[in-house]
Symmetry: C2
Subunit: 395 residues, 2 copies
């Protein structure tokens, strides 16, 4: 039966790709493997004890409403809670402006659905978040890379790209980017906002990590500087629990209207119960207590990793030192391919993500790698980085 059924597949399946990070994670799920490869929050960052109380409060307070079909835009008490949470991040939004999705991945999928016609050009940071590429690719776009440096996306490179061709949208992670950990300064955000306005262009700003700030001052989101040209996407996955799949999006009205329609056809609405839990998490004061705890969990892990890298990585390697987030980006000497390094490291029980997977053009980013510091404890990080250092020196 296999052949006849394959005949039935849509043309767009040809442009869909399995997420290669996930494939790598499958390989490294063997026992005793230390993974610096994933992008998982630490399980000990979840407010499990608090959840016993939160879920009881949800059943007491909302009862059947938390279990029933709900409106497509999202559970009203959750959207109200989100609006006040966002106000604290310089994002101006009323509850009625927000749309809730099954994780920010689903917001990206719906944005692809309502914006991308086959062949449209999407501009990406180089390197870029793989999950977004995987969401957009089903709608058959073409990609162009915008050059970045240690300060993130280079505004002049964006302007040159917009001048050269029609671009459907720019997708970027403005703070503690995945994979590089880089953040755009307030000045660059402002410069990008001006370019967007000048070219009537649209940016999708993905902002999952900005609450995980260990040091320094938070610049306002790009959305703050160009609300009419920016779709703001974020999630509670990094500051509550990713398994609850709580993403949300703030889009200019004509795009919001179509996101609503697309979401209605795609899944009717997001999980009411998870949204009720999140409403209680935000309005019950839990989030204010939990986020500092998460930061105090991750900050020493990052510091340990940075110190161990300085002690163990050989000359010729350099890396970012982000003020927060989940990742450190490493660039090795020219000429190496960190996938070779990857397989040697896996033999020694340590996994990471070879950086080339985050670039859209073959041959780019060969000497780069992404290290995650949130999932395992300091002693484990210390040992894993020492092992990596040895593998690098023997390589």
């Amino acid at each position: 039966m296999s052949k006849p059924l394959e005949r039935l597949l849509s043309q767009r399946t040809a442009s869909m790709q399995r997420n290669q990070i996930r494939e790598i994670l499958n390989v490294v799920s063997q026992p005793n493997m230390i993974s610096l490869a994933g992008g998982l929050p630490a399980p000990e960052s979840f407010p499990i004890e608090e959840l016993y109380a939160i879920q009881e409060a949800v059943l007491d307070r909302f009862g059947a409403d938390a279990l029933q079909y709900d409106v497509t835009e999202g559970f009203a008490p959750f959207r109200e809670a989100l609006a006040s949470y966002l106000a604290g991040k310089s994002v101006r939004a009323g509850a009625e402006d927000l749309l809730v999705f099954n994780g920010s991945q689903s917001a990206l999928d719906m944005l692809g659905k309502v914006l991308i016609s086959p062949g449209d050009i999407i501009a990406l940071e180089s390197p870029s978040y793989l999950g977004a590429i995987s969401a957009f690719s089903a709608y058959e776009p073409r990609y162009i890379s915008i050059e970045t440096d240690d300060g993130g996306l280079i505004p002049e490179a964006l302007e040159a790209a917009l001048a050269r061709q029609p671009v459907k949208f720019l997708y970027l992670v403005t703070t503690f980017q995945n994979p590089t950990g880089r953040s755009l300064s307030a000045e660059r955000r402002q410069a990008i906002a001006e370019i967007l306005r000048a070219y009537d262009a649209l940016a999708i700003e993905d902002d999952p990590y900005s609450d995980l700030r260990f040091r320094g001052e938070a610049p306002p989101p790009l959305h703050h500087f160009a609300p009419e040209n920016t779709v703001y996407v974020s999630t509670l996955s990094k500051i509550f629990a990713p398994g609850l799949r709580l993403g949300f999006c703030l889009a200019p009205p004509p795009i919001r209207k179509w996101l609503y329609t697309a979401k209605q056809g795609a899944d009717l609405h997001s999980n009411t119960y998870a949204q009720a839990l999140a409403a209680e998490y935000v309005t019950g004061g839990y989030i204010e207590r939990q986020v500092p705890k998460i930061i105090e969990l991750y900050r020493p892990r990052q510091e340990t990793m940075l110190k161990a890298m300085a002690a163990h990585f050989p000359a010729g390697y350099r890396w970012t030192e982000p003020e927060g987030g989940m990742f450190i980006w490493v660039e090795g000497p020219d000429g190496i391919d960190t996938e070779d390094l990857y397989w040697k490291a896996v033999e020694k029980g340590v996994a990471f993500v070879p950086g080339k997977f985050f670039f859209i053009n073959e041959g780019e980013g060969l000497p780069t790698m992404r290290l995650n510091f949130t999932k395992v404890d300091e002693a484990t990080i210390q040992g894993a980085v020492a092992t990596l250092g040895r593998v690098m020196r023997d390589f």
Copy 2:
């Protein structure tokens, strides 16, 4: 800014439509309106008391695993629970064959994504479930209607359609169909299975209602007769809680593989926590106790509605008497348009869904209407049907 942004919309938005039932539900959400229009389970059918225990058991048993990122195919303990639940419905599936989605709506969306190229032909029952049309339409198919009678889809009409043109798939609700309440007999299922095999054709069997059986014997699902030609889609929305968005799908391997890839790009995975609650609901014996309670709640509501219709509806109206489900389908005299009746009934405080919305061709189904009997209690149904009868007589 509105115009420039609209220029950015994808071509496919032109074929997306708002779900008209939902739009009607918005209109009738005014206080004191009795709605026979929705397709909502009764809130008192939800196992709220049990959920206090279920959610505590989930945190005790799964802890952080219930809150973490999970595999795309679905939370393993839930898929194992589903496999044993499905065995009781003559659906042969291992946990590894199942994919979990955010409600069956999301399964339909992903099926559309991996199967439909623009212009492909999809065969629908006439009338058909509007949510499925709304999911598929984003992928720009064309639709053809297959004739039905009181026994549901007519096998000969399907065969004629398959002989006439290439059809990507047939979508149907085999038991207690939405909107008609009709069910296919075992003989028709077998006949359809043979036709699917003879034409190497694919059916998507949507089966959300079969557990809500008040009377009579359940025939095996179409999937049982043609597992290699059928994608089986179902949900726990009608027997647990729709707000948890728990749909699932059993597809032949080449389609399952692409559904997995598409889902990975679309939302990574479904809500882990909701799946853990459902695993506990199924394996903890709750489902066996709850489903009979739901049936005992709905059966008298349906009986009340049928009796009241016999007492109050004027000559020239006929209706289905389904052995279960959530809906009764009414056909009025030729020449009327029940949308006119709808507005008169709404004036008197009663809402239903004019049946024409469930047909794909303009002008079809004008004298039909769908009545829901699960959401409100017997006394309210009694009064609402009496009101409807008066409106019909004055019409």
